[in-house]
Symmetry: C2
Subunit: 298 residues, 2 copies
């Protein structure tokens, strides 16, 4: 159904029942997306939480291993060996902790943050514009009712002119808010695809960057640590390879955005008055095809 691709801004002024019906479909879709996004964010925050808890737990374990020395055991004979062995294990746990901490930071920055931003920016924008559109529509309906209740007498000509002015202003306001609302809903259809995948690319990229950090450390501590440090390199490299290794998730996104041609009909909204300024700011052309192709051509 190609007609459902977007809300045509040209039809915003007429505000026909057909346009309203199509609008309700877009609104339903945005509602489903909001629910899904909240659940996805919850799942991602849980992964981040677990990773963060692993940092704290390994930190505590390492400290606890070192604390053996400070226990003032009444019988400390022969404990030197135990102490030095526990120190050694503590170091091992510390190194593991460094990896966990780095990974937790990556997850926060590249997985959780983008989806929070999507929710706070895009979804909140749609919901705000929905409210404004509702208010403008009500205002317009009220002024129309006022106009229809006007007496037909000649002597009320001046009042009539005022009411007509009011109707015109209300219609202009409703038109403006509907243009903004339609644009936000159209943009959301493109944004949502990127928004669903950006955090997972960040997730994969986080593992990859984590791996690269480890690889550098590996070069420094060549021999003894070599085998210990490679884990995240391997897994990171594999994931990074699968997603064709971009420089950063942002670079990846911008590459996709610049690759995809602007899709005409929606963009044409920008030439319409009066909502053009607010349209372009929230507009995001479709990067999804390029993105998913790149992901699938592994």
């Amino acid at each position: 159904m190609p007609a459902v691709d977007k809300l045509l801004l040209e039809e915003a002024l007429q505000d026909s029942p057909q346009t309203r019906s199509l609008l309700s479909v877009f609104e339903e879709d945005a509602g489903t997306l909001t629910d899904y996004t909240n659940q996805l964010l919850q799942a991602m925050q849980r992964v981040y939480g677990a990773q963060n808890e692993m940092c704290l737990a390994t930190q505590q374990l390492s400290k606890q291993l070192l604390a053996y020395e400070k226990q003032n055991f009444a019988l400390g004979k022969g404990d030197e060996e135990v102490i030095s062995t526990l120190h050694y294990f503590s170091k091992v746990v510390d190194e593991l902790n460094v990896l966990h901490t780095e990974l937790a930071k990556q997850l926060a920055d590249t997985m959780v943050l983008p989806i929070i931003q999507f929710r706070e920016k895009d979804l909140t924008e749609v919901s705000t514009l929905k409210d404004l559109f509702g208010l403008a529509s009500n205002e317009h309906d009220l002024s129309m009712a006022k106009y229809s209740r006007l007496p037909k007498k000649k002597e009320n000509e001046k009042v009539k002119i005022d009411v007509v002015k009011e109707v015109a202003a209300a219609r202009r306001k409703q038109h403006l808010s509907s243009l903004q609302y339609y644009c936000a809903l159209n943009a959301l259809q493109y944004r949502k695809r990127v928004a669903m995948m950006e955090p997972m690319i960040g997730f994969a990229h986080g593992q990859s960057r984590n791996g690269r950090g480890c690889r550098e450390a590996e070069c420094r501590e060549k021999k003894s640590r070599q085998l210990f440090i490679t884990p995240h390199v391997c897994w990171g490299a594999w994931v990074a390879q699968s997603v064709k290794r971009p420089t950063s998730p942002q670079d990846m996104m911008s590459r996709f955005v610049s690759l995809s041609p602007a899709s005409g009909s929606v963009l044409s909204a920008q030439s319409l008055e009066p909502a053009s300024d607010s349209v372009s700011s929230s507009f995001c052309p479709s990067p999804t095809c390029a993105l998913s192709l790149s992901l699938k051509n592994k």
Copy 2:
């Protein structure tokens, strides 16, 4: 101070103030050990908990990625690519989940369980025997007091014989319980060193076994998964190498136990009556030197 090495069972019967004083040193040591063990257990359970939470979190994330398909978006056009990409990411997260789950199981079995067993078996045994020894001592004191209050008259000869019998029985009982208690305290001095390190060996071994499982999987799914699967192999192998790679922590322990010669003076307790049976059961010769040497000669 070689005299503080062990409580001499030969001195249990005499129960001199010097022996009592030495006993209190061993008791203080056992108390410190109990506190430390509880803290160490807590730290290890936290690591296990974090690992377990990571399993559940990755499971939830994978499910949530798959759930996109079932959202009944009012506008589903072009979602096939998003769906297939999220399916792909879900698989990646699933594979990560398998590794996390395996590792969590290993941590439970080889890190948390041994220290719980040490607490439940060794520390609880010492605490129980301490109570029994206290009861037997009180009983002995009471019968001694009874004996000392006996009138010196001839006609009470029969009563006197009964009280003497009672004192003898109480002393035998106290002697038995002190032998058991001393043995448990002596054994604890050896056990504690192993008990502190066994969970960390289990921790390292868990990573190693986890790695081996992955390596087998790696052989099966040679090419595409190769880089992904190696992580835990590397870290596991490094740790395992450091601890001279035993077949299992139990094997490692039994090897150390069989290697170390029985240390005479404590063992000689077994020839003493009446506590010999219960002595040998809780006795554990010193595996610590062999263990820590092996750990340090990496």
